[in-house]
């Protein structure tokens, strides 16, 4: 994370000239707002920040932000972001996308991002559906959910992103709600500051295909004030609560980050082909 010295930036300075194509009322507006806010609060330099995404409604994100952006392909935001951060540890790298992107096609990359602990921030806008392709079930859709792709009700179990992230030992795990952009902004800010892989699960409803606003308004509960974010077991308990959707910082742990450690294993020197090729003489 690179911090700038400029004191005057506001949310507006981070907004790009591209108008979001999201439906009116889409939860992603709140997430965008919170992200811009957190960027302003941290005064991230737009020229040294990159927002990486996959494909989906939520993955349109980079186009709406005035930093660098990389709108990649479905499911691959995390490896793109990790490659970027490994090569350019000076940049702030944020990976964003939807539940389909991160938990269906891309879930394998989540596992490995957890194991590597490269310092990137992942913001997943979970609407429990595939928005862009018009409402099929996603891994986070509830069991029994009826959609065009599950006309008899979804037969698979529901994926629990926070619990999985915790069990994979992700070094920063939080959950926010797009309808609470202030708290969300604070979480994203903390996540960006965290050195290591941070995972922010955001409840971000899709009113067009699966309106979960009311349900989440009712279920969303801040984590108890006294929750100790260094206790993974306690965090897991909250994550597994089947009634409540806790929001806040579940877990945080400082661990060495790969892009740093890899630069410490050996003292680099300039490459010279004449020296190098000598080994084959």
């Amino acid at each position: 994370m690179v911090q700038s010295t400029t004191p005057t930036l506001t949310l507006k300075d981070y907004k790009s000239e591209v108008k979001p194509t999201w439906c009116p009322g889409c939860g992603d507006f709140g997430v965008l707002n919170a992200t811009l806010r957190s960027m302003a609060a941290l005064k991230l330099p737009v020229d040294q920040t990159v927002v990486v995404s996959g494909i989906g409604c939520s993955s349109r994100f980079p186009h709406f932000i005035r930093t660098f952006g990389f709108h990649s392909v479905h499911g691959r935001a995390l490896p793109v972001a990790q490659g970027l951060k490994m090569a350019r540890p000076d940049l702030t790298v944020i990976a964003v996308g939807g539940d389909g992107d991160f938990f269906s096609i891309g879930v394998g990359h989540l596992v490995h991002a957890a194991l590597r602990n490269i310092d990137i921030t992942a913001i997943v806008m979970d609407n429990e559906t595939y928005g862009l392709t018009k409402g099929q079930t996603s891994p986070t859709s509830p069991h029994g959910h009826k959609t065009k792709s599950s006309p008899y009700g979804l037969l698979a179990s529901q994926f629990n992103p926070v619990a999985t992230a915790l069990s994979l030992n992700v070094s920063f795990v939080a959950r926010g709600y797009s309808a609470r952009p202030k708290e969300l902004a604070a979480l994203i800010e903390q996540a960006t500051l965290h050195r290591g892989f941070s995972f922010v699960h955001v409840l971000s409803p899709c009113p067009t295909f699966y309106n979960t606003f009311d349900a989440w308004d009712a279920a969303v509960t801040p984590l108890p004030e006294d929750h100790d974010p260094s206790s993974r077991l306690k965090a897991l308990e909250y994550a597994l609560d089947s009634e409540k959707q806790y929001i806040g910082l579940f877990y945080r742990e400082e661990r060495p980050t790969m892009e740093r450690v890899t630069r410490e294993v050996v003292e680099p020197r300039e490459f010279r082909i004449d020296e190098y090729i000598q080994r084959y003489a």
């Binding site: 990389f70 990649s72 090729i277 084959y280």
Partner: protein, 592 residues
């Protein structure tokens, strides 16, 4: 006496067959000879039949040779498997304890390898040293040359110990003396001292790594796969030493995605894989082309389809390299013909990637990855490293708002809005920026977009962007080097080839010309864009065209048909083994 010999060693993997061959090749090269190796791999991880062949010559050698002049059999199975590849009149060296050869199509020398190792040296694992000593005694490479290589190898190994070294020396010596005393030489193969030359000895993958490092590659992400893994392993070791970074990815999609991330960050980045992994990269190659990001992707071709034969060669990924991916997707394709190319073309590939902001597919193949050649040291020059076309950086007075100086960000916003990352240019190449202080941000995207990179589905814009992207290939076709024909300047028969078959083709041309045929060849190192000028000239200069390829479907022939309406004579070999010059010569003779 000929100052050239092709020696094949057949044995069991793990017995030192391969390392023995390696030592022979290296020692011969250091002694001043040109070498060219070919080997097979067993299907088993440990054990299993394998063979190593090295052609040793005082003239440059371009191919593995049609036949072995000398076959050394370390067991009976090696005899059964390899005898058909021994030249009539060649030399068979065998252990009479293993079997008794039956044919008298060849000269036989019996050397009791096992007994010498077991009884005389009293260390069975020196059997391959016994073999080397016999080779030295029979065909000329001096014992000292072999000994030097053995010593320097052993000193780097964990097994290093003086006793073992002493036993090795003994084994070499005993066998040398044995053959000198007991065997009456009846063959013409005797290498005599030649002038030393400044050469290095390495295989294709090692040259690829040297090329990548010399080209300033700063990031590698990959996933293990035969026969590309050793590129990855070398990069894992070397990159941190030159300030670069390495990532072993969870799969090939992650590998290429990470490469694109690094490349977006302005760092030269590459991956290396083989067929199955290359197939998995398809979608991301399309993204690189659409988002116009440089990337170098080494595909070490192996025999397919599917898992196929991981340890066998084939040139059967060309069509896929050309057309892989949905939609019309421009990409650059480079194919090395030999070990020297593996170095030089890597330098070119990285420059091409940056200059044309496009993925470059580097098509080597299994035989080339493992082929050891002696290469003039002068090949390994530093490269001129070209940068990308970067959009004029804004000075540190902070025209870029949120950067170091925030006060002027309105002006910067206007400027940023005018920065057209994907501007329609005459060359097709648009200026880009790289994240960092003062750089104007943009979003790279796989969606169709306008000049500013914003999503845009208007028919006119899609049409114009498609043309712009493909225009880069036209520009490249103008700028990139054109190949020169080889052989008769008034040729009637022309051969067109690509990839690792060049040596066999050129040797066939030489041999055909020696027989009086008017033959020439053109070898393509860049397959996309095609070197149009050279191809048109060559095609129109000859009467008959032959396209020899190690694949079933004639992939280069198909490309030439698509592009020039050419209907060449296709010569296809697809058994997992490279062409010999003789096979191509026969194809030439059939035409005549």
């Amino acid at each position: 006496m000929e100052n050239e010999v092709t020696i094949r060693i057949g044995g069991e993997s793990g017995e030192g067959t391969i390392s023995g061959g390696d030592i022979l090749a290296l020692a011969s090269a250091r002694w001043g000879y040109h070498v060219f190796t070919f080997r097979t791999f067993p299907a088993e991880i440990l054990g299993g039949p394998c063979m190593f062949q090295v052609r040793i010559s005082d003239r440059p050698v371009k191919s593995m040779g049609d036949y072995a002049d000398v076959l050394i059999c370390l067991n009976k199975e090696a005899y059964d498997r390899n005898i058909r590849d021994l030249r009539r009149g060649g030399v068979l060296v065998y252990d009479p304890g293993d079997f008794t050869p039956e044919s008298d199509d060849f000269i036989t020398y019996a050397v009791p390898f096992n007994e010498l190792a077991r009884k005389e040296v009293q260390l069975f694992q020196t059997k391959n040293m016994v073999m080397l000593g016999a080779i030295a005694g029979l065909f000329g490479p001096p014992l000292e040359a072999l000994l030097q290589v053995v010593e320097s190898r052993l000193s780097k190994s964990r097994k290093a110990n003086p006793v073992l070294m002493e036993k090795n020396r003994l084994a070499l010596d005993i066998a040398y003396r044995y053959v000198r005393e007991k065997i009456e030489k009846r063959d013409p193969y005797q290498l005599s001292p030649v002038e030393k030359a400044d050469r290095v000895v390495l295989n294709g993958n090692q040259a690829v790594v040297a090329g990548a490092l010399a080209a300033g590659c700063g990031f590698f992400a990959g996933y293990p796969i035969t026969p590309a893994s050793d590129i990855m392993e070398a990069m894992a070791k070397e990159l941190p030493q030159v300030g670069g970074t390495f990532l072993q990815a969870e799969d090939e999609m992650a590998a290429l995605a990470a490469v694109l991330g690094a490349s977006f960050g302005g760092v030269r980045a590459m991956t290396a894989t083989s067929g199955p992994g290359f197939s998995l990269m398809t979608e991301l190659i399309g993204l690189a082309s659409m988002a116009e990001l440089p990337a170098v992707i080494v595909d070490a071709q192996r025999a397919g389809p599917s898992t196929g034969m991981p340890t066998k060669m084939e040139q059967a990924d060309l069509s896929f390299a050309l057309y892989g991916g949905h939609g019309d997707t421009p990409r650059l394709i480079v194919a090395p013909a030999n070990v020297a190319d593996c170095y030089s073309l890597m330098g070119l590939a990285f420059n091409m990637a940056d200059r044309y902001q496009m993925p470059v597919i580097f098509l080597t193949d299994q035989s080339l990855t493992a082929r050891v050649e002696s290469v003039d040291r002068s090949v390994f020059q530093p490269f001129t490293i070209e940068g990308r076309l970067e959009y004029g950086k804004v000075g540190s007075n902070g025209a870029n708002g949120a950067s170091s100086n925030g006060s002027k960000h309105e002006a910067a916003t206007a400027l940023a809005a005018s920065f057209a990352r994907y501007a329609y240019t005459a060359s097709g190449i648009s200026p880009m920026t790289i994240p960092g202080p003062g750089a104007l941000p943009y979003s790279a995207t796989g969606l169709e977009h306008n000049e500013h990179g914003h999503p845009d589905y208007e028919p006119e814009d899609h049409t114009a962007m498609m043309q712009k992207r493909f225009r880069k290939l036209e520009t490249a076709a103008q700028e990139l080097p054109q190949p020169e024909p080889y052989g008769d300047s008034n040729a009637e028969i022309g051969l067109i080839g690509w990839g690792s078959t060049e040596g066999a083709i050129q040797e066939a041309v030489d041999r055909a010309r020696a027989k009086g045929y008017k033959v020439a060849s053109l070898h393509l190192r860049i397959l996309s864009p095609l070197p149009d000028r050279a191809l048109r000239n060559f095609i129109s200069s000859v009467k008959t065209i032959i396209v020899p390829e190690c694949n079933y479907s004639g992939q280069l022939a198909n490309l030439l048909g698509a592009r020039y309406g050419l209907q060449p004579i296709r010569v296809n070999k697809f058994g997992g083994i490279p062409f010999t010059a003789g096979e191509i010569l026969r194809a030439i003779e059939e035409v005549c």
